[in-house]
């Protein structure tokens, strides 16, 4: 049972958008990028000059057959991680991803020891 659960869990961490049309790919990238001059808007939601210019840059990169990763690297080199809405797994975001999962694990172990194990022993 637990193995199945783990398999399901890993399944979700595989990026969902493996095969998408180019325009859909563009929108997906825009959605993941913060419009730096706005209040909490993504590039996709904004039409400020900054957003329009950056969209052009990204479009050009896509036409030049750059991968998503290359585009994100290009952007983070210039503007820092702040620009990405989907935080990459790095040392500084380790706890962001790790803490909730650790919490889930500890809670699960606690419930297992308290309730499930005594039940199995019976």
């Amino acid at each position: 049972m637990r193995n199945i659960f783990l398999i399901i869990l890993f399944f979700f961490f595989i990026p969902v958008q493996l095969a998408m049309a180019s325009t859909e790919r563009e929108i997906n990238i825009y959605k993941n990028i913060r419009c730096l001059v706005c209040q909490g808007q993504s590039l996709n939601d904004s039409n400020s000059d900054f957003a329009i210019d950056l969209k052009k840059v990204i479009k050009k990169k896509i036409i030049n057959k750059k991968s998503d990763k290359e585009i994100y690297n290009y952007l983070t080199e210039r503007y820092g991680d702040w620009i990405l809405f989907n935080p990459p797994l790095k040392i500084n975001t380790f706890l962001l991803w790790g803490f909730p999962l650790m919490f889930a694990l500890l809670g699960g172990v606690f419930l297992y020891i308290k309730v499930v194990a005594p039940h199995l022993r019976q």
Binding site: Q39, Q41, S42, N92, L96, V116
Partner: protein, 634 residues
């Protein structure tokens, strides 16, 4: 003149609240009497004083009395009366006054609806409620007095943020406050019960009512906020995992966990300590949400009224309240109640424990996601963003399992320990929901794994709820689980709607010239003509678009508004219904219209089901409150 009255009323209410506290201490500790008439009377007076000063503030806004700073900063004579009034709580000072009014209102509601509870518990609850009230009154008077004066008196005000000039947003904050500030009462009730050694299963049945009421308001408030963001911001979405949205979600999740654990406490006399901790947590998270919104530590669309210095005060208040309540909890918690805490694996009580486990996990994700960027930038100076993808990735697998458990849990028996009696039901629900899922995916011809899983799990919950409704049709309106069925059905539909919406919504961004049309993804957008008009506080440019989709045509009329005070552009969306889905269009306000207007078009699949689910969840809460209100608890 009238503004002085408001300021005086605030001071008097502050003094009255002080004397309320003094009266309680005198009565209870010095004279050891349990006659509280005078004490209750004083508390009522303090409520009326706060209410009255709030009215005075509204009048000041209505008559545009610019001698008051907050009126000057947030109002303007050209605004319609409705928005002049709603501006009263559209700013920090006024909203803090509303905050206090709600604390006091819950105290009064409790006083009026608790005659069947013993007087000492009532009085002690009101005592703690007055302490909270006093803390916030002093915060208001000393750091953010809504009646502060400005001299010389300006002739004109600065105006209200146009994005807030919306009928829904005018009523959205009061509902949110009625929600999360309302948790102050059950918090006071907990502290009172701990002090008076009345923290037992009867306490749980009293308290549940006072959780259900703010919970319903909060659910409704969150729904309203989501709906507002959907049609006002023009981004096509309904939930952005914005820190301010998260701030209202945190107490909601905590209180939802509380609603479940308190049932176990009431029925089986278990989970005493856990329920107490959840009660404290719910209120602390409400205050924490206030801190996040008010302190300016966030980068968010909602962060319109903030001031870092006030943030420090609120943080200080949170620390005091947290420490105070934890000390009372540690010193006064009835130790003898802990011995009965065993759970059988296939029992309803254990499924509630699992529910709490999942909810607390979701809560942790929301708290970590919201606060991590703030903490990281404080400690390392690095700035990162945490957006929707983080939450979706980390939450989705848990939500799916959560839905299945939500369907199974209520089938089990309290303290029961076997699956045999319900095995058949669990199995047949699976067959039915797999069948329905196949039908849905064939109909929509979509076979994505996550889509199928989302539909399967939510349909499973919906099927189980319908089964229960059908099986109990005669006793449906009298039975206790009536409200639970509503809320659970709402949640199942919500996840179903979110899944459908996520996979089938369409989005088109295009620049279209007047008279031309644009074709993409089977949707044709035709820009027919443009019109302009002048209103009292803004000028408006309309675009008229004809949308053709699947042989259906829709005429939509989005617009761009240019507000005068303060000068700002907003984009007004135009939305039309297509079954449960929405055809949604918004114009961009950049550039010259003759060069073509940028439009954002969305086909929001099944989005209306989301609002229906919010309504069902809220109705469940209200039903539970009303039913509990009618029964004699003690």
């Amino acid at each position: 003149m009238i503004s002085n009255l408001g300021a005086v009323l605030l001071i008097v209410s502050f003094l009255t609240t002080c004397s309320t506290l003094f009266l309680y201490i005198k009565n209870n500790i010095i004279q050891k009497s349990s006659i509280y008439l005078q004490f209750f009377l004083f508390y009522k007076v303090s409520f009326y004083l706060i209410l009255f000063s709030f009215f005075v503030l509204i009048v000041c806004f209505a008559i545009s009395d610019f001698s008051i700073i907050s009126v000057y900063e947030n109002s303007h004579t050209d605004k319609p009366l409705f928005y002049k009034i709603s501006a009263a709580w559209g700013n920090h000072e006024g909203s803090m006054l509303l905050f206090i009014l709600v604390i006091s209102l819950y105290g009064i509601l409790f006083l009026l609806n608790s005659k069947n509870i013993n007087d000492s518990l009532r009085a002690c609850t009101i005592f703690f409620q007055s302490i909270i009230q006093l803390i916030f009154l002093s915060f208001l008077i000393f750091t953010s007095n809504p009646f502060s004066k400005i001299f010389p008196v300006p002739v004109q005000g600065l105006g209200l943020n146009p994005i807030l000039q919306d009928p829904l947003l005018a009523i959205h904050p009061p509902f949110l406050y009625l929600g999360y500030v309302g948790f102050s009462l059950v918090f006071s009730l907990l502290l009172a019960a701990l002090i008076l050694k009345q923290y037992n299963s009867r306490w749980a049945s009293i308290a549940k009512k006072w959780i259900m009421l703010p919970w319903s308001f909060l659910s409704f408030g969150i729904g309203l906020g989501s709906f507002w963001a959907y049609y006002e911001l023009g981004w096509g979405g309904y939930w952005f995992w914005d820190p301010v949205e998260n701030a209202s979600l945190m107490p909601w999740i905590a209180s939802t966990a509380l609603i479940h654990s308190i049932v176990v406490m009431e029925k089986l006399k278990k989970l005493f300590a856990w329920t107490a901790i959840l009660t404290i947590l719910t209120f602390i998270l409400s205050l924490f949400g206030t801190f996040l919104v008010r302190s300016g530590v966030l980068n968010s669309v909602h962060a319109f009224a903030n001031d870092p210095e006030r943030g420090v005060y609120i943080l200080f208040i949170i620390t005091i309240i947290t420490l105070g309540s934890l000390i009372i909890y540690i010193l006064k918690f009835p130790k003898e109640s802990v011995n009965n805490n065993s759970f059988a694996l296939f029992s309803r009580d254990f499924s509630i424990l699992l529910n709490n486990y999942f909810l607390i996990f979701i809560l942790t994700v929301v708290i970590v996601g919201t606060t991590y960027p703030i903490l990281l930038s404080v400690f390392t100076g690095e700035t990162i963003s945490v957006g929707p993808q983080y939450y979706n990735t980390i939450l989705a697998p848990f939500i799916f399992i959560f839905l299945i458990l939500m369907a199974m849990g209520p089938l089990m028996k309290w303290n029961g320990n076997s699956l045999i009696s319900i095995k058949q039901k669990i199995f047949s629900f699976f067959i039915v929901s797999i069948f329905l899922t196949i039908l849905i995916s064939l109909y929509l011809s979509r076979y994505n794994f996550i889509f199928l899983l989302g539909v399967l799990c939510s349909v499973y919950l919906i099927v189980s709820v319908f089964y229960e409704i059908v099986m109990s049709k005669k006793t449906f309106f009298t039975k206790q689980n009536f409200s639970r069925l509503f809320s659970h059905l709402g949640f199942g539909l919500l996840i179903l709607a979110i899944t459908l919406n996520h996979f089938f919504s369409k989005e088109i961004n295009a620049k279209i010239h007047l008279g031309e049309s644009f074709f993409k993804q089977g949707i044709k957008i035709n820009f027919l003509k443009s019109e302009s008009s002048k209103e009292k506080n803004f000028e408006e440019l309309f675009g008229i678009y004809k949308i053709t989709k699947d042989n259906k045509t829709f005429i939509l009329k989005p617009s761009v508004r240019k507000y005068k005070q303060p000068q700002q552009f907003t984009s007004e969306t135009s939305i039309q219904r297509d079954g449960l889905s929405d055809v949604y269009i918004a114009m961009d306000y950049a550039g010259d219209p003759s060069m073509g207007m940028g439009v954002r078009f969305y086909y929001n699949y099944f989005v209306r089901l989301i609002w229906i689910s919010f309504a069902l969840i809220t109705i469940g809460g209200i039903v539970s409150f009303v039913r509990r209100g009618n029964e004699k608890t003690i």
